[in-house]
Point group: C2
Chain length 188, copies 2
DNA sequence: CACGATGGCTAAAGAGATTAGCTTTTCAGC
DNA sequence: GCTGAAAAGCTAATCTCTTTAGCCATCGTG
């Protein structure tokens, strides 16, 4: 029988497709194996265990986010860049709810994840630098920004906002609050 | 042999103790059974399945939060009440990280959960009413407040804030941002 | 004191993760 | 082209966890 020609990357691809279609709960090694046309134990040739697969998925998602956010803020500065970052962050979450949910809030113990998280954080800090924030102040601000954006994304994706009021309006209020309250006043 | 004298409440108690000690991952029917001195299948006399157990846990946690927040804002009004709400919310998350994590961001399909979530939301809306916010504006504001507070709590609990800067300082910045940027200016 | 509801138990099946050990394919180097 | 080792598959088997079925003991009520 010919080989399936799998690789760690291919396994992650299949897992992501699976998640996109059926949600995080459906992520199981048998399901991934089925989708790649391979017996379950064969996956262990490419991935140490299901935990590592989850880590690889999270890493991929964080890289996608970093690319997206990085591109969105390119050529922008100040509050405009912050708004762009917030918009694209939410958009990713809404367009790929399960991928977003697959991203753990913390790097936890994995160095590769910490690396990917660090790069995303770098983008955020760069944006804040463009608003005149540096050092400790930038860290505190980045935390608040991240908390607000991530909090909104998580709640929206999970269907946590039950009432009928328009979500875009709510988010614009959050953007305004962040820009007005969190960033130093512009004096140019 | 004498009966164990279990009840749905007792099962949830044991499950909460288990979660507190060993984290969400450790929540398994065998573990709960072991802790209550009963064989695993016996639990099905009190709880439909592990999903229902999770729902009951979430419900309990949300009730605890509602009590706590309700008590904290009692006798306070305006921004002071908002700050009190934010403080006690974060404190609960930090003191009971796994319980907090056991709370799903959305009621999803369960009516009992929706009920508990509704009561918590009521407290938040009451606090905002004390700030002069009502109707649609209050809903948008509540969403932003919740996003910020929940986002911070989730990230902190998961260890998502890696850097060494003081977390209390970050949170005070979030409090200030919310009070200054999200609430209507005080004019008394 | 009998009886029905309730709570508990054992046995067993099914799903998923993981390990062990075997076979086949691939391919680099001769 | 050959060969031998590494890589990639596979089957079989184990373990844990969930869940169902069916049996028995206990408890409280009339």
């Amino acid at each position: 029988m010919p080989r399936a020609g799998l690789s760690p990357t291919g396994v992650v691809d299949a897992a992501l497709a699976l998640i996109d279609e059926q949600g995080l709960e459906a992520l199981t090694l048998s399901a991934v194996a089925g989708r790649t046309g391979v017996a379950t134990p064969s996956l262990y040739k490419h991935v140490r265990n299901i935990g590592e697969l989850r880590t690889l998925i999270a890493q991929r998602v964080m890289e996608e986010m970093t690319d997206l956010v990085g591109t969105a803020v390119m050529g922008r500065g100040g509050p405009e860049a912050v708004i762009a970052l917030m918009r694209v962050w939410r958009r990713y979450a809404v367009e790929h709810p399960f991928r977003y949910a697959a991203m753990p809030p913390a790097p936890l113990t994995d160095p590769a994840l910490a690396e990917a998280g660090g790069r995303l954080l770098e983008v955020v800090l760069a944006v804040l630098r463009g608003c005149g924030l540096d050092g400790g102040a930038a860290v505190h601000t980045a935390r608040c920004l991240r908390a607000a954006v991530h909090g909104f994304a998580v709640l929206e994706v999970a269907g946590g906002f039950g009432l009928s009021e328009d979500l875009d309006t709510s988010y614009r209020l959050l953007e305004k609050t962040i820009v007005d309250g969190l960033l130093p006043a512009e004096n140019d």
